[in-house]
Symmetry: C2
């Protein structure tokens, strides 16, 4: 199959990890007789420096024409004092909205070689394997009004959702549960928020269409506790944008493998943007020591969700797992008696395993 | 000194733990030559059953006349299907607002006897001692509009704050840091929310009045991670209502001592409502096995913050700590080689230590 992929390296270690993931995609293409072409475009801080815009028009246009998008990371101290429309993150928020990427999938799983580096006790975290499905283009992130009032004496942000926006992400949650362990945890704050009451009603309605899925409602504060005290109880967790932001980051540190976690931001037709869950790590950028594994696993999600190439996705996932179990790791990972490698070297190891 | 205290036992184990805490307050009163009088009033589910109102007028009026309020817990499955104005939690939300209790203090500390029960590794959690200062009467909890629109096809909630509301809670945060380790972590989502941008500006302004306090800004998603990976880095954390709800519950499970954590909800003049951080535990209500220690520690906070009785507060805190280190505990706590006691028995032990 022929497919075109837009690469958005972004800032910090972004360019290094995206380059690695591209090498992996090429290895898969030649192993499986596909051809991928790539176009690289600017986003985030790099785009601000070059175009004075965190999401230049030509980047947006190129993404709209591609079959999928692979992003590195955005942000860094260099742009932290910029006004908000010239902040790197704004590029990310705008592209999610502009491409309609409403469904953010954030899997959290443990790797046996890394579990010992978890802040949690082995018995608590062992066996954790959950998927957070976060709504990504609604809620407090995009609601209007969001403004100062009374000459700056007060301020409002707006948590707004349409029924349709809730329905489609809740369906994504149920669909994800159906191909996993068929357990869905819906997270809301229905004892306080009107939006959460509506959310809970819609979950109840949709549950009728998925009789095989067991559904549980958990308040967001309780969910934040349970992720720590008993993470293995979760399979798929579905929630709105801000709750998902907080809980997915919380969940990402449970298994000691933050440097290994991918993410996908999808719309209904399968088009998507893929990026590692970690940030741009400006402190180690350009040193050749960044960990590209989460970006490779994001490329695997790209193959699975946007190109329907499940076998090819598994090739990457298996190769990454094999690389780790052979003891190869980057500086950020703690593998006992392992061999520490740089970005390029570990990329070669993964390619060898493909 | 003579003081009057309103007791709001509420639901589940609420009546049992409030009764225990009252015995402790009496023990302190006689040891230190104070006299406390008590009036008991209904709130939550109990008030719904009796008055069809989770916060009856006479309860509200009594609280307004008291010197301080001690609450047990509200809620239970019995009222879970009620319409929202007849839900137990509504009583709690309304009393916070009606009494103007804008500052919620939630200390999280470890007890040496309980740290082994933490889901976190000993080395990660040992030494944790933090205070979450949560805004309690603004933000998404009370903002208008909060309603369905377009014939139920959409919904909004509103995150609203005035400058004054932000200023006073941020001051509470700084003041708390001044009497602790002089480190303040302000939590916001300033890369997305206008309200958070204003929050951050106010923190920066106030910081000038507290040159001794080191101030750090952390995004709420990063805060949710850091609480787990490195809880000992925090001293005082100050944040708005919903973020504080989530983070304080997350923090409450870190040290393995959820059953030991008190809370205070204060206004400027020192008046306050005090309650344990745990819930109403309807499954064990009425069995005489509930853990009253968090409610006793809440009574200690009451003495300190509302009555300015620091010495008396320490008497309780010391007695509770001594009870634990003597090996006495309730069924919910895991103390190695300890002696398991019921609610009444452990109350007597604490009194013996006073
Ligand atoms: C950078 C920021 C705006 C973004 C978000 O809050 O969505 C990030 O935290 C994420 O989770 O992808
Ligand atoms: C019961 C509920 C409304 C309440 C809140 O969210 O404030 C509770 O979770 C708390 O933290 O005191």
């Amino acid at each position: 199959m022929h497919k075109s992929i837009v690469l958005l390296p972004g800032d910090g270690i972004g360019p290094e990890v995206v380059e690695s993931a591209k090498c992996i995609l090429d290895a898969v293409a030649s192993a499986c007789d596909h051809s991928f072409d790539y176009a690289t475009h600017a986003i985030g801080g790099a785009a601000i420096d070059q175009f004075n815009d965190p999401l230049p028009q030509e980047t947006e246009a190129a993404c709209k024409q591609a079959d999928a998008v692979l992003l590195g990371a955005v942000g860094g101290p260099k742009w932290d004092q910029n006004p908000s429309h010239l902040r790197p993150e704004k590029g990310l928020l705008r592209i999610r909205k502009s491409l309609g990427l409403y469904a953010n999938l954030r899997p959290v799983q443990g790797f046996p070689e890394l579990l010992h580096a978890s802040p949690l006790k082995y018995d608590v975290v062992n066996g954790s394997d959950l998927l957070i499905v976060r709504e990504l283009t609604g809620g407090l992130y995009f609601g209007e009004p969001s403004e100062r009032r009374d000459n700056g004496e007060s301020v409002v942000d707006t948590l707004a959702y349409t029924r349709e926006e809730m329905e489609r992400i809740i369906e994504t949650g149920f669909d994800a549960a159906m191909v996993r362990k068929k357990h869905l945890t819906s997270v809301d704050k229905a004892n306080v928020l009107e939006s959460s009451k509506m959310w809970r009603e819609i979950v109840e309605e949709k549950a009728k269409d998925y009789p095989e899925v067991t559904v549980e409602h958990v308040l967001v504060d309780a969910a934040a506790m349970k992720l720590i005290t008993n993470p293995t109880q979760f399979d798929v967790m579905v929630t709105e944008n801000m709750f998902g932001d907080i809980l997915s980051d919380e969940a990402s540190v449970l298994t000691g493998s933050l440097g290994m976690l991918p993410s996908a931001s999808l719309r209904k037709d399968g088009f998507g943007l893929y990026e590692p869950a970690h940030g741009s790590a400006p402190d180690i950028a350009g040193q050749g020591i960044a960990n590209p594994l989460a970006t490779m696993l994001s490329a695997a999600m790209l193959l699975r969700y946007s190109f329907d190439m499940d076998h090819e996705a598994q090739l990457i996932e298996q190769a990454v797992a094999n690389t780790l179990s052979a003891g190869y790791h980057t500086a950020d990972l703690h593998v006992k008696n392992g061999t520490k490698l740089g970005t390029k070297e570990i990329t070669e190891k993964v390619i060898d395993f493909i």
